[in-house]
């Protein structure tokens, strides 16, 4: 793990901006709603990181919304009906989403290209319909009044304060989401640059050749899809906790498509691409609001232009072709 001074500086600046710069900016301008916006960006970026990972094994995944929804429901049910602490329900939600991914992945990951994309596109709709039909998810009414995350203390030492007692819940959620996002991307970076990442690259480039050198492509595909969905589940669970409610329409097909677009826009060749993509898509959409009925038209045109002229994503302008950050 050798990092250049430039990389360390980049990470330091990034951390400074999100943990010091943003809170100072918000305090100065009084735009407290920004916390909610940026928290959403951080959580959506976590789910997008998962989608990016499935791209890394050469699969177009338009089904992350399904796993985010699964994660949101699992966490909500565990907290509301089983009385678990949110902090335990969070990894449980991720693991459950990963388990679902393994079961679904076994049959569908054999498919390639557009066929896999089509199946995953349907998944989100299936998840929504399942949430409507099952008794435990409470149908269309969803699960509401989810209590805020409780505190965690160890030997009398408060590790995480009770969110219900906090004056500034928004800021607490913002910090939590940012920390989760940083852990996610650090893990993703490490994964991509370790042996598993190299095996993924070999599979992405040529599955036949990869299996001829002994790569168990079925196993790695399932493993990656599970990790990807784990991220989706975590993002979704946290999202549910912040909005204190989960409905079948909390994550819909459009969200799944957005997760994919975040990756495209940021750049599939860069680990941090989906993070940038999420930020730009989320804010870009809002900024175009003043164009009224032309909002969608302008938004789509910009996306098409970007994908047409920058197929390697926006980060390719900065880093050049093939180089990795």
């Amino acid at each position: 793990m050798n990092f250049s001074a430039k990389q360390i500086l980049g990470v330091a600046v990034f951390l400074l901006v999100i943990f010091v710069g943003v809170p100072m900016f918000i305090a100065a301008t009084g735009r407290w709603d920004f916390y909610f916006t940026l928290t959403s960006v951080a959580l959506l970026a976590i789910a997008s990181a998962g989608v990016w990972l499935t791209f890394y094994i050469g699969r177009i995944n338009i089904g992350q919304g399904a796993f985010a929804l699964v994660g949101a429901y699992v966490s909500a049910i565990l907290v509301v009906k089983a009385g678990w602490s949110f902090w335990i329900s969070l990894p449980a939600a991720g693991l459950f989403a990963a388990l679902v991914a393994v079961l679904l992945g076994l049959p569908i990951l054999r498919l390639r290209g557009v066929y896999f994309a089509m199946i995953t596109l349907v998944l989100t709709q299936v998840a929504t319909l399942t949430a409507l039909a099952l008794p435990i998810t409470n149908g269309a009414k969803g699960i509401t009044n989810i209590p805020l995350p409780s505190g965690v203390s160890l030997f009398g030492l408060t590790l995480i304060p009770d969110f219900g007692q906090l004056e500034n819940t928004r800021m607490a959620f913002y910090f939590t989401a940012c920390i989760l996002m940083i852990i996610t991307y650090a893990a993703l970076y490490r994964l991509v640059n370790s042996r598993l990442g190299h095996l993924c690259r070999s599979m992405q480039q040529n599955e036949e050749l990869a299996s001829s050198i002994g790569v168990n492509i079925t196993y790695i595909r399932i493993l990656i899809f599970a990790i990807s969905s784990f991220f989706g589940g975590i993002g979704g669970a946290m999202f549910g906790s912040i909005s204190q409610s989960v409905y079948p329409a909390t994550f819909v097909v459009k969200d799944s498509v957005d997760f994919m677009l975040n990756c495209f826009l940021g750049g599939l060749g860069y680990v941090f691409g989906p993070m940038l993509g999420t930020l730009l898509i989320y804010f870009g959409w809002d900024l175009l609001f003043e164009f009224g009925k032309y909002q969608l038209l302008i938004y789509s045109t910009i996306l098409i232009v970007v994908i047409r002229f920058l197929p390697d994503g926006l980060l390719s302008i900065r880093f050049g072709k093939g180089e990795k950050k």
């Binding site: 793990m1 893990a187 490490r190 994964l191 370790s194 042996r195 598993l196 190299h198 095996l199 690259r201 070999s202 480039q205 040529n206 036949e208 050749l209 299996s211 001829s212 050198i213 002994g214 790569v215 168990n216 492509i217 079925t218 093939g322």
Partner: protein
């Protein structure tokens, strides 16, 4: 003669079409055996069955007495029987060195999690992979192009890269798919020497499928000839050159194509 690889009554049918019919022969340890035959004779199908890329309809392939047909390709590779591909099957956006490093993953001692956390074993693995990659590329005379992207390589080097990737897995048997196709005389002769040294210096048994007759005659210890999915002859290069059935199978193409 100890048979390392035994092909026993292997048959492949695609619907009504029989690609391979009841083919049997042995490959001895440390020999170079070529499978030849006119287009459509079923050479490639046979190759794919040996490496378990397609299942057999009946019959089996044994490696050291153990069945390796009708498994998964990666399982067969792990046992030490590794195939190469024709030049288009490469890791396009990896460099030569990266390709050879990734192909060594079967030798990894550390687990995937060990790599994630950067355990000591994993770091030792990474170091030894790099060293072995350098050594292998030097052996293959590819050290000067180690940092080239595979997609930028000319055809001749791509074939060598395929062999480098195959060798990096530390195979006992290397199955080469048309290693001389599209090469000029000089390139072919260099490749013949290379394949020989793979056998002589690394103790790898080589089985290859090829069209280039002069090269096959030069390189092979033994030759198996297929025609219309059937084995019609087996023997040393000189036996094959004088075999009437073989000459008949190739009739219609010029005589010198099977000879020198």
């Amino acid at each position: 003669m100890s048979a390392l690889l035994q092909i026993k009554n292997v048959t492949k049918k695609y619907g009504g079409l029989t690609a391979n019919n009841d083919i049997s022969f042995d490959v001895a340890e440390n020999e170079i055996l070529s499978v030849i035959g006119p287009n459509g004779a079923g050479k490639s199908t046979l190759f794919k069955m040996i490496s378990s890329f397609v299942p057999t309809t009946s019959g089996e392939v044994l490696y050291r007495g153990e069945r390796i047909s009708n498994l998964k390709p990666h399982t067969v590779a792990r046992k030490g029987v590794v195939r190469t591909f024709q030049e288009t099957t490469i890791f396009k956006s990896m460099t030569v060195r990266e390709s050879v490093v990734v192909a060594q993953h079967l030798r990894a001692k550390a687990s995937l999690a060990g790599y994630f956390w950067g355990s000591k074993t994993a770091r030792q693995d990474v170091e030894s992979f790099g060293r072995y990659a350098d050594e292998l590329l030097e052996f293959l005379g590819m050290d000067s192009i180690a940092d080239e992207l595979a997609s930028n390589l000319p055809q001749g080097n791509l074939r060598a890269l395929g062999i480098a990737i195959g060798l990096a897995t530390d195979p006992k048997v290397l199955l080469l798919d048309e290693p001389f196709a599209g090469m000029n005389h000089d390139e072919t002769m260099r490749m013949v020497d290379l394949v020989r040294s793979v056998r002589d210096e690394r103790g790898v048994t080589v089985m290859l499928v090829e069209h280039d007759m002069p090269a096959v005659m030069k390189i092979s210890d033994r030759i198996v000839v297929l025609n219309f999915g059937e084995k019609i002859a087996e023997g040393s290069p000189s036996e094959i050159q004088n075999n009437e059935k073989v000459i008949e199978a190739y009739l219609g193409s010029a005589d010198d194509e099977i000879g020198m």
